[in-house]
Symmetry: C2
Subunit: 259 residues, 2 copies
């Protein structure tokens, strides 16, 4: 039987609230099996950029990562956020080790090709360094990833944190029974978008198609769900979606997704 492993992704909103972050990290730290944390972006980099007078560039409503923005992202998520999360986890007895995708060649990517829009220094993932991940996990280390990859030619690349978490879970599922936890602002996938307590406990391929047919999954949830099913189709055992309380053992309100 495979050993269990959890890949947990948190968004920027958690990082900006120290009390929530500490509560989340305590629950994360209490997970007994090997685990990996991926933290997203949020507004911290935008705020620093504003203080430095660096303009957020947008094209057709999409954010562009120019070289100045990439520097800010690398400072805030690769430095400030990542190192503070690692130090907090160390204090909780979890031997955390912070990484960008460049560290140990953990996440190889290429700059997103220019079609309609040049997104700038944004990376699309080519692969995960499974050997590195096994070395770290076997040494009882808990990798903590910021959402930065690299192209192997010296260029760091801003990369979607959900995709990093999903690709890490897929990579680890060869050797581990892997659960991917995606934390966001809602308690789970909602039956009624206006009722925060209408969490659907379990979704599988069949019920997903039903929900799609009834337009219950739409807008922002659609790419999230596609990301989940992509991971499941690539051998990830289970994907759970909920808010940051989902790792609290006293909480059992979140959505579990299986094939």
């Amino acid at each position: 039987m495979k050993q269990k492993l959890s890949v947990v992704k948190i968004g920027g909103n958690v990082l900006e609230n120290e009390i929530e972050l500490d509560r989340f990290l305590l629950n994360f730290s209490n997970l007994k099996e090997p685990k990996i944390l991926v933290h997203g972006g949020g507004n911290l980099a935008t705020k620093l950029a504003a203080r430095l007078g660096i303009e957020s560039k947008m094209t057709n409503g999409r954010r562009i990562t120019d070289s100045k923005s990439l520097e800010v992202i690398t400072m805030v998520y690769g430095g400030l956020t990542n190192k503070n999360v690692v130090a907090k986890l160390q204090a909780l007895g979890t031997n955390a080790l912070g990484l960008s995708g460049a560290d140990g060649n953990a996440i190889q990517a290429h700059k997103r090709p220019v079609n309609d829009i040049d997104f700038g220094f944004v990376g699309d993932i080519d692969g995960i360094n499974q050997d590195l991940m096994h070395t770290l996990v076997d040494a009882d280390l808990t990798p903590v990833f910021c959402a930065i990859s690299h192209d192997g030619k010296g260029q760091l690349l801003n990369t979607n944190a959900d995709t990093i978490a999903s690709e890490l879970a897929i990579g680890m599922s060869h050797k581990f029974e892997t659960t991917l936890y995606c934390c966001f602002e809602k308690k789970g996938v909602l039956q009624d978008v206006k009722n925060d307590d209408s969490v659907i406990k379990h979704i599988n391929t069949k019920s997903y198609n039903d929900l799609l047919g009834h337009n219950i999954i739409a807008d922002g949830m659609l790419p999230k769900m596609q990301n989940c099913f992509h991971a499941l189709q690539q051998n990830v055992d289970k994907v759970c979606i909920g808010n940051i309380s989902m790792l609290d053992i006293d909480s059992n309100v979140y959505t579990t997704i299986t094939l």
Copy 2:
């Protein structure tokens, strides 16, 4: 016979000059044996602090690391510098992995006790995590350290890069034949401080005492040399002092220090 290992420390001045940095990293990358890089501070953090309107606090001419300064240091050295150096080394075929002292509990420290001066969030090193270092080196990874340690209670601490390099070299010398390379702005220890080419090729305990007696080693060189002899007395095999060309195989002008 022990395997050879190099610990190399570079200062902030190298980091600010991209051409010099690239030249140095190429030479560092060409070192065949296991190696560790430690990069110091310099003016990059001071410049960012100034742009953010954060004042550099001084007491009796000594710099104080308050919480705002520590944030800037963590962003610049833990994030921007560290990740870019790692990405550059990856492009040169060296499997670099960036670390602060919090990552993997690599460098344990305590906040410097307040005597005459409260230096703020400055760390004095208690120890190096040798198991972690061996895990990384055995996996052909090249650790790249920024000059930040932690207290194990969630607090990051600004820490002298020379001391980190020295303590790493001491820690690794139990298992490896270790050379500590300290790069600074001069070609080595100078016989005549006004003549940049008067490099003393070799210093040992006896000749060091002679140089001290003749006041040839004074001022800023004194703590550097004390740091070198401290490392040698703790089993480091050799300490080399010179400028960033010292790792260039075509250059042989630097000072080698042995007991």
